[in-house]
Each structure stands twice: as structure tokens, then as C-alpha cells.
Symmetry: C2
Subunit: 441 residues, 2 copies
Amino acid sequence: MEPKGIPLISGFSKLTRKERIEILNKLINQNEDLLPWLDSWMHPDAGQQATFQKFSENYITSFHIPFGVVPNMVINGRHYMVPMVIEESSVIAAAARSAKFWSCRGGFRAEILGTERKGQIHLTWSGHPQRLRDRFEGLTQDMLAATALTTRKMKERGGGITGIRLVDKTAAIPGYYQVDVSFETADAMGANFINTCLEEMAAVLERELSHYQEEGKVEIIMSILSNYTPGSLIRCSVECDIQELSGISGKLSPEEFARKFELASRIAGVDVSRAVTHNKGIYNGVDAVVLATGNDWRAVEACGHAFASAGGSYSSLSEAKISGNRFSYTLNLPIALGTVGGLTKSHPQAALALSILGNPGAGELMMIAAAAGLANNFSAVTALITSGIQQGHMKMHLPNILKQLNATPQEEQSIRAHFEGKQVSHAAVELFVNNLRNQHG
Amino acid sequence: MEPKGIPLISGFSKLTRKERIEILNKLINQNEDLLPWLDSWMHPDAGQQATFQKFSENYITSFHIPFGVVPNMVINGRHYMVPMVIEESSVIAAAARSAKFWSCRGGFRAEILGTERKGQIHLTWSGHPQRLRDRFEGLTQDMLAATALTTRKMKERGGGITGIRLVDKTAAIPGYYQVDVSFETADAMGANFINTCLEEMAAVLERELSHYQEEGKVEIIMSILSNYTPGSLIRCSVECDIQELSGISGKLSPEEFARKFELASRIAGVDVSRAVTHNKGIYNGVDAVVLATGNDWRAVEACGHAFASAGGSYSSLSEAKISGNRFSYTLNLPIALGTVGGLTKSHPQAALALSILGNPGAGELMMIAAAAGLANNFSAVTALITSGIQQGHMKMHLPNILKQLNATPQEEQSIRAHFEGKQVSHAAVELFVNNLRNQHG
């Protein structure tokens, strides 16, 4: 049965960009040719542009996302300007507010608790588990030997394979085992390196174990890095005397603010509905740095949210504490980033982002991303427990609402006077304007 | 103590773009002015460009990400061209491979299991829980009345507030309750709508309960939508006779392929290290559609990964089944997207993406995103259990490696002949080239 809509297309990836756009023209049935419009989003320099067409397949044009910077981020005593690429309004503003606030209260303190990367060979073995365990030490030597060429350069940079262990998973699935491998990959994300090592090791495992067919049958199911890297972990925190929290809210005293913030943090610790949104606010900041520096936000998100559920129920990644006269706010963020390889240098704007950050190593970049996450999270919780999230949002939207309603300068003046300190919503502004116009109409 | 690096900056957000770039020039200490280079990434039309500078704060330039399309996606009997914005190579190629494979096997079947959005008022109440429960019905009427103006237009579009309930969370935190509110938001993501409703309701709650100070004290901690929307759920699946899986792998028979695929899926169901990477592969496809259509990937990721942990341990979102002669693969994806509001129409390229999809409603877009996720996931698992992930990856990287090694056309020919069917790695190719050159040198 032929599907509805346009016919199926054969060999689309082999078409030229122009030919692909021809198909889109027919599909959306506009009178105007899309080609010049799509061209207009591309870089005018052919050399720069060619790079982008190689990044991904079936390229049509380049999608634009705002690239901004957050000033005044003080991390471990050093002032950074942090590049962020993000489509959502107020993310950069929120990070900048936090950055400035903490810049004169000791800044963000970050430490690298680990940089371990992981990968697994997933296999089945039909024989007795002890037979596999007996041979594993010998196999480990053979597997390491097989990766010698691949790991040589990584070892020169201080990385390599740091651990191999056999994990018996037969309680979950009969006959299922893992070879769990730990890596250090220096400043690289290391995905290609890890996957190449694992496939080389898996080939050895399969070949060597097939010599013992009378003991059992081996099957390699798959060999692949894991994006779950709880051993690649940043701790980032801010801390000050409670009195130093004065001025952050017009309504609350520093003591009230600290108490309410700590309670909001505890709520995100026990309630999944709140925890998800709380952590989403952390990733607003983290992902904006990840994207700006040419790293992979899907890997970072998957790892972090799985980590948030490691205790058995999904919980928040950050925690506020009041201890005597001190207020502190701490984020534990598992994150694996690279500053060499991948797009980090080949995307010219990612290269600029790294240069704005002073060309950090991977660990330093991970600390910067964590600080950006904590900055956004601190601002969001602060807004929620003081003025509410909508006041700032709708204040920003007010010019758009005025424009949509074609408000005159005089009407704008009346609107601003009426809504001063009041809840702004599209509906309320519209009603007010209509009343105004009916009075005068 | 002044931080190291450049001095802190006051009033950065009030500077002009040129002034901000002046500061970056000093920071990265290049001889060349960054301004013309940063300009070159912006849209040449001043009107289009102005839109981007309003999306986010401290704007410097626009970041480019490849925008491509996946042809031959058949979903519920209709052929879509699916726009994807993604920086990672092979995501679009993998989706296209799956799309084509399933297009002649019934395509993707998707259904909307729900479109419920959520929000909560988080509060404390110091009195007896029964006093709060007694008053809650009356309060519900008052809260609904307070949102009448805000909900009027949403009701006309078929949405609005669909449920309000009081949740006693005192077992987790003494005195802590939630007013848990359900919404339908039609084709909008609805964040502003939900937050405005919640803040209006919270104001009523606070005012009314403060009349009963002798019974207890109320405090509103925060009122905010939740990105956790398990009730906004898409089920998407592919299904065929096992014999129809022939040709997908040169090595495995259709029966072997189905068995191995089902086992790989079960492994992702029981092992967190694999589940995270498995789901990351789903979000490669999902996020690429989310970003292309101007939606918020952080919200989508946070919701989905929390949902993946709802059973008590983090698990995969998709599941393969063999039932008699049938093979099926099903994804349950919680996702809340919009096709009106936010950037969906104001980002001109997001508007084009929606137009390429035939201007779908929110539910239809959610099904398309789920199908893209399942398509990517199916391709990734297929690659892993057949040829391995590196063979395709490194084959794609080979031209880059050849270029880095300045390989002559003659050397390239020898390299391609030598590595035909063999594992390609940077180190192995380099070694081979060096040996070649030493032989002839």
C-alpha cells in the first residue's frame, strides 16, 4: 500500500542540495523557490560553509540559535566569560544574575571528583560461570595486548584503559555477562577511542572462548561505550553567611530567604514532579555551554538524569544546606565533555567558545558547565520563592503583547501604570486595553 | 579578593553588541577584531536578524547547526519528510536508513495515549490536615474562578484546567502539601498559561487560608508547571513478519537477527549502563525534531529520563518482542510539545520545519518526534548487533584520516584495499601508511 502524501523517494542522500530543495519546494507547494531563502542562512564564505555540510547528512541549510555570553562567572577564583548557545529567553539573563551575585561572595567552587569513562562488551556464555571466571585473567591480558596500537597515543596523553572486570548478570538474564571496561581519555570525549578498543577486545574474547566449545558457547551481543559515567563527576558549590543574602529579595529577610530556599531544595529532593523541573533548570545552563563548545547534549542529559534516579527514585541534583550561620548550595553533576576531537575544534564557533574560556582542558570545561548549571538553578529557585516565575517572564513579554494589540504610546503608559506590581497576563492586558478603548471609543 | 583574569564587568547586558564584542576582543587577545567575523554568521536581512537578537540575552552572534531532512518516514500511513537539526554526524543517516526500511513494512504506527500537562502549588500548612481537606472543595471553586479570564481563550481552543487535587506530602516533609493541577493546552506548550493559572490560584489559596490563622498557618513555597508529564504520552511501534527482516544484515538470518535484537533490547531493560546509551540514541532523533520545530529539548529530556526511572531503576524506553512469527519494536515516549507559541512560529526556520511537516498539531508533532526517536534507536541497535558501531563510523572518518596523513591517491588505493572488511582505526591506518612509506622511502 502506497502511503498518503508525496511518493517515497529513492536515493535522496545522493541528490545534490539543490535537488533536495526542489523536492521540498513541491512538498510545501509555495510559489516561491526556497533555495535563495535557505541560502541566506548559510555562511557566505564557501570554505566555512563546506565544513557545515560535512557535519551531518541531507544538509539543507544551517539552523540559527542565539550565541550569547555570561559575564562575571567566578569559578575557583578566576573570572570567566561563559559562552552559551540557547534558544530559550531568560536563561542567559538568569545565569548572569547568579554569576554577578556570587562573584562578590567567593564565587563558585568546583572540583573534579573523577573523569572515568566507561564501556561494556555485552555477551552470553552458555557454560558454567566458573569456567569463564577461570579464564578471565588470561583473557584480560590478551584483550589488552589487542588494543596496544589503539591505546598507544592515548597513553602518551595520560589516558588509556584503567580497569577491566567481568560482571555476572545471569540473575537478570540467563547466560548474560558483561566485560565492564574503565577508561581515561584525557581531553577527548573519547567515543571513537573507547568503541574501537571495545570492538578489538570483543574480537579477542570471541576468538579465544570459541576454543573451548566443549565448555560452553560464547556470543558477543554488542560492544559499546556507555554514556552513563557516574565516575566522571563534578562537585560545584556556592556558600556565604546568611546575612550576605540580604538584598536578594525585597520581600524576604536573609533568614527567611535561606529557610524558604532550603525548603524548596528539600521539596525537589522528595517530589519527582518538582525534581524534573528543578533539574531541567540546571540543564538550561549546562546544555547551553555544552552546545556552545561543540559537545553532545544528549549524552550529558541521559547521564545526569539517570544519575538523579540512582537512589531508587528520581531526585534533584543540587542541595541547599543551612549550617549555623552559613548557607550553601551544592550540585553533584556527572558529566563527560571533551575539548579536543569531535566538533570542538572543527566547528569554528565552538572553537571561538573554547577560546573565550581560555582554551580549558576537559576537566576545567566540565567545572564551567557545572557552575553554569548551578547558576541557572540558583536564579530559578530564587525567582520561584520570591516574586514567582511569571512576573519576570511576563514583564519581558509585555512589549510583545503591546505590539500585538497595536497599543499607542498613550495606551502603553496607562497599561504600565495599571500593571505596576500586578500580575501581567496576555488576557488581562487585552481586557484592560479593550476597556480603555470602549471608554474612549 | 579580586578574581584572576579580566576585571568584573558592570552593566554588561546594557552594552551594545559592539561594546560586548570589544570586551571579547580584549579577552581573547587576538590582533584581529572579532566583529566582522561574528557578523558573518548572522542573517544578512536586518529584519530577520533582529528577531534572533530578541530571543536571548547578551547576544553576540548566531550559532550554526546543520538542518537536514529525513525522507520516507511513513507514520500512520502518511509519508513525511522530517526536518532534523543536529550537530552529530550519522544521526540523520541512521534515521533515514530506518525510515526507508520500515516504509515498505507498514511504516511507524503511533498513537497519542494522552496530552495532559501538569503544575503544582507547593505549600506548607501548620494546622491539622483535616482542616485543609475540609476547606479544599470550597477553595477549588475560588481558585477556578480566579483563573476565569486567563483560561477563557484556552477553553475556546478545547483546553483549560482539567483537574485539581490536594496531595498530602507530610510523610516526606512535615507540613508539606501540593495542589496538583492538570491542564490541557491544545497545540501550545502552554508554559506561560500554566504558570499564570498557578500563580493566580496560589494567591487565592494564600488569601483564603490566611482567614483561618487560629487553625493553622499557610505558606506558599512556589507555584510552577512540571516538566514531568507522564500523562502526555506517545506509543510508537514498528512490526513485521520475521521473514521480512531478511536483508537487514549480511551476517545474520532473519531469525538470528530478531533473536539477537530482542536480547539487546532486554539488556537495555535490565542494565543501567546500557539503558542510558540506548535511550540517548532515542533522543538523538527526538531532540533533532524538537530543536528543528522550536521546542525545548531540556524539558523533553528531563521528562523522558525521569519516566525511564519510574519503575525504581533506570531502564530503556523501547522494547522488542517476538510473538510467534512477528517481530515488533515499541517506544513509550512521554513528551509535551507545542506547534503554536514560543519559538514555533517566531523562529523563521522552525516555522519552515513545521511547514515541511504539513503544519501538524501538537499531538501529531509528538508522534513524529517519537517515530524519529524509534527510527534512530532501531538503526543504532541494528548496527551494534551486526557490524558494530565503529565500522560505519570509521568508514566515514577514513577520508579525514587520509587527509591528515596527506595520503597520495596511490597510498589511498593501497589503504582501501588493505582495510577492506577490516577494523579501521586512526592508529592502524597511520601505522600502515608509515610502513608503506618506509618500504618505498
